[in-house]
Each structure stands twice: as structure tokens, then as C-alpha cells.
Amino acid sequence: MTAERPALRQAQGTPSGSRGEGTAPHGRVPKLERIIGTVLRAGVMTSSLCLAVGLVLSLAGGGGALSAFLLNAGIIVLLATPVARVIVSTVQYVSDRDWAFATLTVIVLVELMASAVAALVLNRRV
């Protein structure tokens, strides 16, 4: 099949120069999707491991500093994983010079940071 897929090609962030692969569904996994898959998988595994060890330690030992650290690290990695996914997308869109989508992903990053700022402001007030 030789029909091109302009939208998908852009959407997946394939750099120019890899044209002509066609639309075969079993073809090479586009770069951005591959990176995102890796980021998400690594994030989930790291956070689940921290949470599991932290939980077992806290239940066994009554909650020491290490278990509290691991539990919080697990939560922070869990929260950081989607953020990391947006950051790699921004980097890829910038390197593809896809300014529209680079801007959109930057807006999402700003919104995510605003939620952290909102939490800090709420903490101060309440």
C-alpha cells in the first residue's frame, strides 16, 4: 500500500526522511510512540516497585523513614510519569518544527505546573 498518511505521520512525529513505508499496520513503530511507550512503562514499573516495597516495609516495621520515603517517591514518580510523557512530546514536536503541537503540549505542561502551584497556595491559605 503506497498511500501516504500525512496526519498520522505527523502525529507520530516520524522525522522526515522515512517516507514510503506505506500504511502497513505491522510496520515500524513511530519514534514518538515508541519513546512514550517506554517512558510510561518505566514510570509505572518504578512507581509500583517503590509503592510495593514502601507499603510492605511500613506495614512490617510500623513505618520508618525509609518506608515513608519510598511511598512518597512512588507517588511522585506516578505523578511525574504523565508529565514526562508530555515533555518528551514537546521535545519531539519542537525537533519536528511542528510549532502548533509544540505550543499545545507546552500549554499542558503549564497547566500541570499550575496544579502544583495551586496546591502550594491552598496549603498556605487553609
Binding site: 502525529a11 510510561l40 497547566e111 496546591a119
Partner: protein
């Protein structure tokens, strides 16, 4: 904040496992079951229940999307566009939740649970595909391999403002109530915006991680998330959704949906009863 004991952690782990497997079987996040369990059965404040549930929503989104990345089901461009709206809605909802009385959130949950049940009972099944493989899907449309027909199908995105509005509402409800919000986006994307069910569901699940992160960060930063209990819930939901996906084929989806719709009507009534006091 509830005191963490081994019995409580195990109870939440078990509840997470059940919610996760139901969620995987029904194509929902499990939050719609987990939040009422934590709030009504264990008696946690609504915000504490929502915070725990949001962490499980993030974990499910990341796991599911990691498995799907590269299979053309997730429409990443559409997802990243709509995330601008879901994250804004979620940010607003997370802040609003800090100022709204628990009874209001319980009533809102009751309303959303009824809507979820009604949608589940009348699941929209429009195909929305263009079978000509050379058709241009446009900037936001997509193309994917459909296992049932064995062919490659193309779709275009229609009514983008509606998709953005639904995403904003879904994000808002997500962080107010601690659910993923896919139940609001997927039917809208599927029925009115031209997106076939599977890419609509995959794209929604992909976006939900960012949506729930905006909400969960507010609860966590504001000290409403107990990490040990979130850990128990996240691990339970991970186990449950893995189980649901691997052993789900044997279950009858139709009867399961009818049963779960009945459960949701009951949960809704309980939320109204509690919220009305």
C-alpha cells in the same frame, strides 16, 4: 486522615483489585466503584477517597497506554490537543473541590453514576469509518488496523469544539469526583465527533493520565493523599486490571454491564441518601 493499619491496607488492596478488574471488563476506569467504597463503606472524607482513586486512575492510564503505544489505536495528536482542555478542567475541579461541601460532591457523584449506568445500558455503537484506504484523514483524524474486519480503516474528526467542551467537562468531573472521566469523553467522541469506539477509548485512556495528574497533584500537595493507602489501592487496581484483561474474555459482557448498571443505580441512591443529610 485515616490511620493506616495492615487490615485497612489489605481491605483497600482488595477493593482496588475488584474495582480494577470490573473496570477492565467494562472498559471503564475502576474509580466509579472505588470512590463510593472508600467514602460510603470505609467512611473516608470524599476528598481523601477521590485523591486515592485518582492515583489508581493515573497508574491504569500509564499501564494501558504503554501497552497500546505504537499500535495506531491512540490518536496522539487529538489526545494532546484535547489534553489542553481536560487539564484545564481538572485544575479548576481540583481547586473547586477544596471549597465544596462533601454533600455536594456526593450528590454530583450520584448524578454522574446514573449517567454512567444509562450510557452503559445503551452503549452507542456507531462505526464512523471510511473504508477507502486512500482517504485523507485530515490533520487530526487517524487510521488504524481493525482486527474484526481485517482491514485498515480511516476516520476524520468532526465537531472539534464539542470534543474540546466534553474534554473540559470530563476533566472537571474527574478531579472533583476522583474518576477518570472517560465515560463522558468516549461516548461524545464516538457518537458525535466521528471517532470509532476503539480509538476513542484508547485516546481517552491516554489523556486520562494527564487529566488525573493535574487533580491528584492538588490533593497530594494539599495533604489529602495518604501514600500508604494510595499504594495499596494502586497495586490492587494494577493486579485487578491485569486479571480483568487476561481472564475477561470468558465473562459475558452484556450481563456484566446490566449487573454493573444496577450496582451504579444503587451507589447513586446511597450517595444521594448520604449527601442529603
Amino acid at each position: 486522615m485515616p490511620v493506616v493499619t495492615a487490615a485497612l491496607a489489605l481491605t483497600i488492596f482488595a477493593a482496588g483489585t475488584v474495582s480494577g478488574s470490573l473496570g477492565a471488563l467494562l472498559g471503564l476506569g475502576g474509580g466509579v466503584f472505588l470512590v463510593p467504597f472508600l467514602n460510603l463503606v470505609l467512611g473516608f472524607p470524599f476528598s481523601v477517597a477521590a485523591a486515592i482513586s485518582l492515583t489508581t486512575v493515573i497508574a491504569t492510564s500509564s499501564t494501558v497506554s504503554a501497552g497500546r503505544a505504537g499500535k495506531q489505536l491512540i490518536n496522539m495528536k487529538l489526545g494532546m490537543l484535547l489534553e489542553v482542555a481536560t487539564a484545564a478542567g481538572s485544575l479548576l475541579g481540583g481547586v473547586t473541590a477544596q471549597f465544596v461541601a462533601q454533600s455536594v460532591l456526593q450528590k454530583l457523584f450520584g448524578i454522574v453514576a446514573v449517567i454512567v449506568a444509562l450510557i452503559m445500558l445503551s452503549r452507542l455503537r456507531r462505526r464512523n469509518v471510511i473504508l477507502d484506504p486512500a482517504a485523507d484523514p485530515g490533520v487530526l483524524g487517524g487510521r488504524y488496523h481493525e482486527a474484526e474486519s481485517g482491514g485498515t480503516v480511516t476516520y476524520r474528526v468532526k465537531r472539534l469544539p464539542l470534543a474540546i467542551t466534553a474534554s473540559f467537562v470530563a476533566g472537571n468531573v474527574s478531579s472533583l469526583l476522583g474518576i477518570g472521566g472517560g465515560i463522558i469523553k468516549v461516548p461524545v467522541l464516538n457518537a458525535w465527533c466521528g471517532i470509532p469506539l476503539r480509538p476513542a477509548a484508547a485516546t481517552s485512556a491516554f489523556m486520562i493520565g494527564v487529566t488525573a495528574t493535574a487533580g491528584a497533584t492538588i490533593y497530594y500537595g494539599h495533604g489529602q493523599l495518604e501514600p500508604a493507602l494510595a499504594a495499596a489501592a494502586v497495586l490492587g487496581v494494577q493486579l485487578g486490571s491485569w486479571g480483568g484483561l487476561h481472564f475477561g474474555a470468558a465473562a459475558s459482557a452484556k450481563w456484566l454491564k446490566i449487573l454493573m448498571a444496577a450496582v451504579l443505580f444503587i451507589l447513586s441512591a446511597m450517595m444521594f441518601a448520604r449527601g442529603g443529610r
